[in-house]
Chain length 493, copies 2
């Protein structure tokens, strides 16, 4: 980034006069390290042998971003067969050939026909908040998942959960006096968006010693401090299962959050995109818990405003590139919902093919359907693979000097603490880097493994971490990390 | 919208404390009229015969939005065949069956293979600004179109042009003192986004008497007034061909815009999404014109900053639902480009299948390719159909009392003036409506034709218009408008 003090001699826009809120935003997941990793990838693919020989690894492992299909996760057959028909409906004119030459089952054909009736063409705009039939399927999914009713009028489809978060924060932030409680560490979408909106991020620290759980006293203290600073705290963000922590909240912890929301009039934003990525215990949705609490203590929770978000990018679906998702609103004022609708209508609608994929994610083949057996096999194989990879990496971290890691509970990430020797900290300082950033850069240069330093997510003062996905196949890359770490420690001990 | 003065008794968020900039934003294209039209559509499909009998038409015509495939425009076969293969690559394992059972040509198969090599899986995130191979195709397209080089480093893919406009305005607006020149009438994306960003819209009026051309003196006067008001005007938006006006700018008019940009240090934002929808004369891109001017007058135009936008939603492609587009930056400061990259990376990436469709739009089959003949036939048939529909509607408007309409030049819209009798104006006032809104509501209620009142785009004080697309097939709906208009005039004469 150039010097902000010097205006551009050519009179162009420059860092000193563009939107200062965009300038201030930070988004490390796709920052310098990711750019450097991509440069390595391009060199390894296209450069001369001479250049390639200078690179000490033969493949870049993008462990910086939860992008399953960039690694080796295969899309689920049922979903993609239906999408192929939606993209080229004349295929439906020869069902026999689809079946005999390509193995399409009758339920694939039926689903495609139904979705085409619903959306007409995937090349047409849908309603701003998504095609009614897809929203209906989402509502029915939520009812099955939670055992409580869901209303299609409260379902808004989005281009991935990120776009939903962007919408919600845009509507509920009214300037620098608006505060939003954000867990630290967090997925930097939240801090970056609050920065762009010039609203105030009110950090609350997750408790690493308690499996990265929420810390009620910590949240209350953050609230009190914000109020003292003249901040009106409007909302609390919960990422469950956690990103980058992988932690999964139990029903008691969720109740604690709602109790705070009731006491302090907070909108609860539940980012539940990893809801099917749970290894330990069972996922409880915030919506279900809220309805339980409303039944158990009539009156007390009636005015809670809850927005819960979901996505087709994660879970066993992993269809990031299709940009699909939704959010459900509970308890919101009608005027606020009207403004949410208006806001999203400015961008017209989420991608329609992604909407159709969302429909299938929430309404997959069931036992007895011709495609069920294959669907189930593929789904379970992805789930089991993720679990095994998480365990492999966890075991590797346990072996590494000065590295402490919580047992994997969910999501797609591990977020180990790294205790670096003082000499490494000094070397980082000399290189004008955060110590964890210094470590991650060295890791990338030595092994081709791209992780994100903990400072990109926020961490308690004086602690250091990095986030890695456990999506990459094989164990060789974990071995590369172990070897690098030993050499790094030896160098700076 | 509820009363803003009364806070919500339940302590929830309400219109009085959410983001006032979102509250203030207006977006009529998908506003009240569109919602009412959708209600009619649902009633006509699903309601009892009794309810249906109360509705004086049997079909809603959505002429409010440029959504070709919602009406009867068929997608282009080549594009969709390739997309079907991208969605389900195992189809490529039986090329023979694709050819014999479904008529796929070899170039369809080859293109799909190439795109799959480039993006790996359409379910994976791409780079934030789009897959490199797609950006390369876009750069080559621009070179062919303009006869001047284009650099892949300056190409940013987006989720439709709307998302590109959103990015650019977010980065270049630094608060209420930032002004952006916006043509009036305009596509309300611009005013709505400036409102959300709390920046200042500096309107300049297009000259209806001169085929809705740009009026240099009017722009200069708007600039002078804005400066007097303490506004730093940063950019000028040009929509060419025009939306809602349909006007197409000649090279001399484009030079005038660049001259103003040089004099006043303005970023030129050229919204060129209708660049292939030109009936009269030839489209000249702002990029081409800039390079010509830079050659003709060395030095003078060297520091011009130009952002030009394009989309897969319009033209003969009409793939709105796939949300694809791009913008090209020329002359921007490196720091500003870095911030643009950071901003878009927060939302991860545009839909990858839409990126692939963009690649095909800019790099379609050429003479000699197996798919060329069909592609060319489909393309021309859509183009000719649009021209004929525009003419039909234009002829209809010429017959209507008090209606004046410019000859269609391009885009997908007509924007006639309507001169309403004083009694109609009074009736609108009594109904608490703008007169053109009153007219459009009556038109919808009587005929099922949904148009957007001119007030949704801005219009000179005291003038009234409406915007209609000319996408709907047949002539019956034009006849319905003529009949309604006569009855409306008779009622209020």
């Amino acid at each position: 980034m150039g010097s902000i003090a010097n205006p551009d001699p050519k009179g162009r826009l420059h860092a000193g006069n563009i939107n200062p809120n965009v300038l201030a935003a930070k988004y490390a997941v796709r920052g310098e390290l990711a750019v450097k990793a991509e440069q390595y990838r391009v060199q390894l693919e296209g450069a001369s042998q001479e250049v390639q020989d200078t690179i000490p690894f033969d493949k870049v492992i993008f462990a910086n971003i939860g992008n399953p299909q960039q690694l080796d996760q295969k899309p689920i057959t049922f979903f993609r067969q239906v999408l192929s028909l939606l993209e080229y409906p004349p295929l439906l004119e020869n069902e026999e050939a689809l079946k005999t030459s390509f193995g399409y089952k009758q339920d694939v054909i039926d689903r495609a026909k139904r979705l085409l009736r619903d959306v007409q063409s995937v090349g047409a705009y849908s309603q701003s908040h998504g095609a009614p039939a897809v929203r209906k399927s989402v509502a029915e999914f939520i009812e099955r998942r939670d055992g409580f009713p869901a209303d299609i009028a409260n379902i808004y489809l989005s281009a991935g959960a990120s776009s939903g978060v962007n919408t919600l924060l845009n509507v509920l932030c009214a300037g620098p006096k608006t505060g939003v409680l954000v867990p630290i560490p967090q997925y930097p979408l939240y801090t970056a968006t609050l920065s762009v909106l010039n609203a105030t991020c009110v950090p609350y620290y997750l408790d690493e010693s308690n499996s990265w759980g929420t810390d009620v006293e910590g949240i209350k203290a953050a609230l009190t401090k914000a109020k003292e600073d003249g901040i009106e705290v409007r909302a609390i963000v919960i990422i469950n299962p956690g990103n980058p922590t992988g932690a999964s909240l139990n029903p008691e912890a969720i109740k604690d959050v709602f109790d705070i929301a009731v006491d302090s009039n907070l909108v609860v934003m539940a980012d539940e995109v990893y809801q099917t990525n749970v290894f330990k215990g069972e996922f409880t949705s915030f919506k279900k818990r809220l309805r339980q609490l409303q039944q158990a203590a009539p009156g007390k929770y009636d005015h809670v405003e809850l927005a819960s978000l979901h996505s087709i990018s994660k879970g066993m679906v992993g269809e990031c590139g299709h940009r699909g998702g939704y959010f459900e609103l509970v308890g919101f004022h009608e005027d606020v919902m009207e403004n949410i609708y208006k806001f999203i209508s400015i961008m017209l609608c989420p991608p329609v093919i992604g909407q159709c994929l969302l429909e299938m994610m929430v309404n997959p083949p069931v036992p007895g359907d011709p495609s069920y057996e294959l669907y189930n096999k593929e789904y379970n194989s992805i789930r089991d693979g993720l679990y095994q990879r998480a365990q492999t990496l966890y075991e590797a971290f346990k072996k590494m000097e000065g590295v402490e890691c919580q047992e994997p509970e969910g999501a797609m990430y591990l977020f180990p603490t790294i205790n670096l020797p003082p000499k490494a900290i000094e070397a980082a300082k000399a290189a004008n880097r955060q110590p964890d950033e210094f470590y991650a850069l060295r890791l990338l240069d030595a092994t081709g493994v791209c992780v994100v330093p903990g400072s990109g997510f926020g961490q308690k003062e004086g602690t250091l971490h990095f986030r890695t996905t456990f999506l990459a196949p094989g164990t060789a890359w974990a071995d590369r990390i172990i070897k690098f770490h030993k050499e790094f420690m030896d160098e700076f001990r």
